[in-house]
Amino acid sequence: MYNHIYNMTKVQNIQSLSKLVNILSKNLLASVEFSDVDSAKTLLRTLEIDKSIDGAFILTAKNKYFASFNRNSNNDLKKRLDKLYTSDNITKSINFIGNKYIIVSMPLLLDNEYIATFCIVSNTKELDQEILNLIKKQAYISLFSLLAIFFIATFIQKRFTKPIYLLIDAMKKIVHNEEVDLLECSSKNEFLYLFNGFNVMNRTIKSQTKDLQNQLREAKIAEKKQLKYIQEIKNIKLELEDINKHTRESIEYAGLIQSALIPDNRTFKKYFKDYFAIWHPKDTVGGDIYLFEELRNNDECLLMVIDCTGHGVPGAFVTMLVKAIERQITSKIKFSDEIVSPAKILSIFNRNMRELLKQENDISISNAGFDGQVLYYNKKDKIMKCASARNEIFYYQDDELKVIKGDRHSVGYKDSDVNYEFSEHIIDLSKETTMYISTDGFWDQNGGEKDLPYGKKRLKRMLDEIHNESMADQQEEFLYAFEDYRGDHITNDDVTVIGLRI
């Protein structure tokens, strides 16, 4: 580029020298024509003003100096010039002696006849200097520009690009879940707002991420705990099902055992014209039981209808106790001649129950006993004796209902009088008698529209209607009357009803 500028400048220089040569050539032609050396020299000296011109000369057709001016007394130059002058290359030619000089020559023509050559020798020092200055200038400009650009770039980089890249880097880190520090912004411009906004966002994200991580951790812990609990619950459920199954099986087996105590109803046939028996424990086992024993011969029998404390398993336990005591009593009777007394039997139960269950004093925890009826029947002698703790005995003779009330004293409880003497009743069996011996489960059952107990009054009304029917039919009447009255209510208690026709 500098070569181009240099050449361009040189060309300009040459052009200006050529113009100068042209301007002076006419006057110089006249000087040469008229051999006026002085005027020629004077003209040539006017070129001294231009410091770039080192010399000028007029060379005749015979290659001799006509006039010259030489600013530089440099003989080397003159010798160089002399060499040139011997050159044939004269007509309007431009010569360079290295880069130091520019020679512009012009032939002087008079009527198209060559008479002399006019040359101007200009040094390129100024040109070089000019070029150098130009180069320097441009260099300074370039340097300055570069510096400016550098500073501007630095400024831009510092002010704009760096923050943007900082933000971009920070965003990338956030995207890749990497830890990001808070950004600092030294300038108070839009980036400050952006940085502050980013920092707030970053803090918020960090905080929320931390919260979420904590929640996730807690959720995982809770889930583990929950799974553990679920497993524990499942285990407990299996265990409970197992226990329930065993319990159910145990209770069913207990039911088997208890139902073995229930007398075969066919034995009633031997003693009574007709009979029925309803035995409905509230659960699989219950506290109600009825016992029937043949005594010393085929004419004597003992019937007991017992309602032990509670129902379910505890009640069933007490029935076993009652059976055991009953066994003792009947065994003793069977091996003796004593007169059977239902009242005495109840008293024996009273004493023995209290003793067996250690209910003789207030310290005892248990308090079990029973209410019930004991009937002694001698078919041959037509004797019916009975005693009752609490519960009535109903019987019909000649369509007339008679009721034997039970003593207001239960059997075997802690607060029972150990020496209590129960009342004994004798029933005249000279007439056909239909008897009903029941625990209170039947008449205590809740039901009906008003959710009231069935009651003895309602029972008596029913008995009035059905007592003449067959015992089998009466059994049905009892069952359906109970069920119809109960409706959707739960069964309150064990139900036992024995019907006898004598």
């Binding site: 089998a472 049905e476 069952l479 109970f482």
Partner: protein, 131 residues
Amino acid sequence: MIKILVVDDSKLARKRIIDTISKIDIQHEIVGEASDGIEGLEKFKELSPTLIITDIEMPNMSGMELVKAIREINLTLMIIVVSSLANEQVKQRLKGDPFSRFIKKPIKNNLLEMILIKVSHDLEKKEGEGA
């Protein structure tokens, strides 16, 4: 069509059973009634019912004796044993017999209905296999 024989010493009980069955929407016919086990066995042989409903506590021959006698002849006849006694022993004894069911009196409609539906299905299956 289910052919039913009702055996119970109580006339009232037989009537109630028949009334209960009549309310169930299943094709059936009451082919006979008996008042004790002996009569029940005779009618079973005579009438060839497909279902017997029998009480346990009956004179002359109890329900369980009737079941035993029937099983010597027919192992797959459906027998419903009813009782006013919550007799676990009877229940346990019948557990081993897939064609017997124990129902405590009074008989509940839905229970009887369920058994009748089963009997009806078994009958249809048998008739289908026979065809």
